[in-house]
């Protein structure tokens, strides 16, 4: 059906999205680009936007908190992304066994992913309580004196990483669905050839689920660099800026200091960082991602 009437109908159906794209994506992106090269505190109104060229980006070079927030975010991403992926895959492998009661276990592991981040944060504030929190009490059973977690600059970031481990159910389910797509015949053939479990994992499972690994890795990177709510609720960047995530710093600049120009510049730097890492993964994917029946496009 391609005539002028049906063409018009097609545009009409996607019109809401096109309007949304212009109003809430492209328009704001252009404005944000302008702001990134401007100085503006929002209180004085749109007319007082002052073009300052690269000043905002120059300021970043001397901004200790910018470096601190970059450091926190990079440490978090570099540790949490691989950690969560490996843990999710291991749990998904366990959940993929054919056993009675697996449905029940899948429900339990997925459950934390539907709990609001704010509620989970409130829970974990109590769990991390140095004296009465359940975590340190559990550690003391093994004779370990737990740290002060959220109140200790050298442990606060680690605490948030540990807490994130609790909520990886989403990633687990995606791995599980990837694992269930691996054809059983491949394992049977490998068994006949006398392959051990590790060989089967390396030579069959990993290549077959590589598209899933790829998807989870990209989502993990994007999510990791945009971490916000938990840090805002639980530590608000403290103690001593040890959990000052990039996104939290950006929020503070925009909505506490109302330094909209600088905050916009920060948002573009974040965008570029995410883009670079995502592209790196996408570019490298041709070397390690294997698509079954790759000729079926779209």
């Amino acid at each position: 059906m391609r005539n002028s009437k049906s063409e018009r109908a097609g545009y009409l159906f996607i019109l809401p999205w096109i309007l949304g794209l212009l109003l809430f994506t492209i328009g704001p992106m252009l404005f944000s680009m302008l702001l990134a090269f401007s100085k503006w505190d929002i209180i004085t109104g749109v007319k007082s936007i002052e073009w300052v060229g690269l000043d905002n980006f120059r300021t970043m070079f001397h901004d200790d908190l910018f470096y601190q927030s970059l450091k926190v975010t990079f440490i978090f991403a570099l540790v949490s992304v691989p950690l969560y992926q490996i843990a999710s895959l291991l749990i998904a492998l366990l959940l993929n066994m054919r056993n009675r009661g697996m449905k029940f276990f899948r429900l339990i592991y997925f459950m934390p992913s539907v709990i609001p981040a704010v509620a989970a944060s409130m829970m974990w504030i109590m769990i991390f309580n140095p004296e009465y929190g359940v975590l340190n009490r559990a550690l003391s059973l093994f004779g370990i004196q737990g740290p002060a977690w959220l109140q200790d600059p050298s442990y606060a970031l680690g605490a948030l990483i540990v807490m994130g481990l609790w909520g990886i159910g989403n990633t687990i389910i995606i791995y599980l669905s990837g694992l269930q797509g691996v054809p059983e015949e491949l394992y049977e053939a490998a068994n006949l050839d006398g392959a051990g479990p590790l060989q089967r994992f390396r030579n069959i499972t990993l290549p077959m689920i590589s598209p899933t690994v790829f998807f989870n890795l990209v989502m993990g990177i994007i999510g990791g660099f945009q971490y916000f709510t938990q840090a805002f609720v639980m530590t608000n960047g403290g103690p001593l800026n040890s959990t000052l995530f990039y996104n939290l710093y950006l929020y503070n600049k925009a909505f506490k200091d109302f330094d909209m120009g600088y905050a916009s510049a920060l948002s573009w730097v974040l965008f570029i960082i995410i883009l670079v890492f995502t592209l790196l993964v996408i570019r490298s994917s041709s070397m390690w991602v294997y698509y079954q029946g790759d000729n079926e496009k779209d």
Binding site: R2, E7, A9, G10, Y11, F13, I14, P16, W17, I18, L21, F24, T25, G27, P28, M29, L35, I42, V46, I91, L94, L95, N99, F105, I108, Y109, F110, P112, V114, P116, A117, V118, A119, S121, M122, M123, I125, M126, V134, A138, W166, N170, S177, G178, P211, F215, V218, Q226, T229, F232, V233, L250, A254, M260, S264, S267, L270, F271, I282, Y291
Partner: protein, 280 residues
């Protein structure tokens, strides 16, 4: 199979089960402990006991009055209901447009649609705030509601479109021959047949609004307009709110998503599995 390999298989099976059970305990303990804390007396919160000595169900009654729980709930629903309607309907409209019509620039527009999923919200957050401030919408629910009616989100359009492409064309073409117009085909044929992805999108939207924190944080200033997620966190530091009550309120805000999850787990898990079908 010889004897030793059967035995090693049993051993590894037992080992795996032990790991699974241990993991499940680790997942459940924080929840149980929060539940236990929500039932303790204020003094008992800071003692060594895991379980409450007496089960103080009254904490729940007190929690909803110690913080303006029902105001927060009402605000959340005022946002939630229109957002769900807007998201599902407009995402379905756009998905239908992409699934069934040919128009100039369609491939390019579809690529743009997919690309917008990669854009971090931080880039558009500040200009959107300024825009809504200029038109006087800050500290109202409108900035949180209105955008849902403009396409309903790229991911949702994509999800529904993939499904609609699988619906046989004979169905809509024969309706067309019978004199139905495109909009009637959409509402009477495509929508009823697309229930699975529409339900999945509704559930994800419900969760998204219920859990949203940064949106209400930016747009809502007066505490009588706070949503549950925002309100709960803002009452954390107040001296008159005790930890046991705060944990009771925390349990209450968890219940709706957990209920939805248990009722609709099939759509949940399938919806998430579909998302893994996106290839790079």
């Amino acid at each position: 199979m010889n004897y030793s390999s059967t035995r090693s298989r049993i051993v590894s099976r037992i080992f795996s089960m032990v790991l699974l059970i241990a993991g499940a305990v680790i997942v459940l303990v924080p929840l149980l402990w929060t539940l236990a804390t929500s039932l303790k007396t204020p003094a008992e919160v800071f003692t060594d006991s895991f379980f409450p000595a007496a089960w103080m169900w009254s904490n729940y009654a007190n929690a909803v009055t110690a913080i303006p729980f029902f105001t927060f709930l009402k605000n959340t629903l005022i946002i939630l209901i229109p957002v769900m309607i807007g998201t599902v309907f407009s995402a379905a409209l756009c998905a239908y447009g992409f699934a069934r019509f040919n128009f100039r620039g369609k491939r390019m527009l579809f690529l743009v649609l997919l690309a917008t999923m990669m854009l971090p919200s931080q880039v558009t957050m500040i200009p959107m705030f300024i825009m809504f401030k200029e038109i006087g919408w800050v500290d109202t629910f409108l900035p949180l509601i209105v955008p849902a009616f403009f396409g309903g989100g790229a991911f949702n359009i994509f999800l529904i479109r993939q499904f609609m492409r699988g619906i046989p064309r004979d169905l809509d073409e024969s309706a067309f021959v019978d004199g139905a117009n495109q909009f009637q085909i959409f509402t009477r044929i495509m929508l009823p047949l697309s229930m699975p992805p529409l339900i999945a999108v509704s559930i994800f939207t419900f969760m998204g609004v219920w859990n949203d924190f940064q949106g209400p944080l930016i747009y809502l200033n007066s505490s009588d307009k706070y949503t549950l997620a925002l309100g709960l966190s803002m009452f954390k530091g107040l001296y008159n709110v005790e930890w046991n009550m705060l944990m009771a309120a925390t349990m209450l805000i968890m219940i709706p998503p957990l209920l939805v999850f248990f009722v609709a787990q099939k759509y949940f898990i399938e919806g998430i599995s579909i998302s893994s079908a996106i290839k790079g």
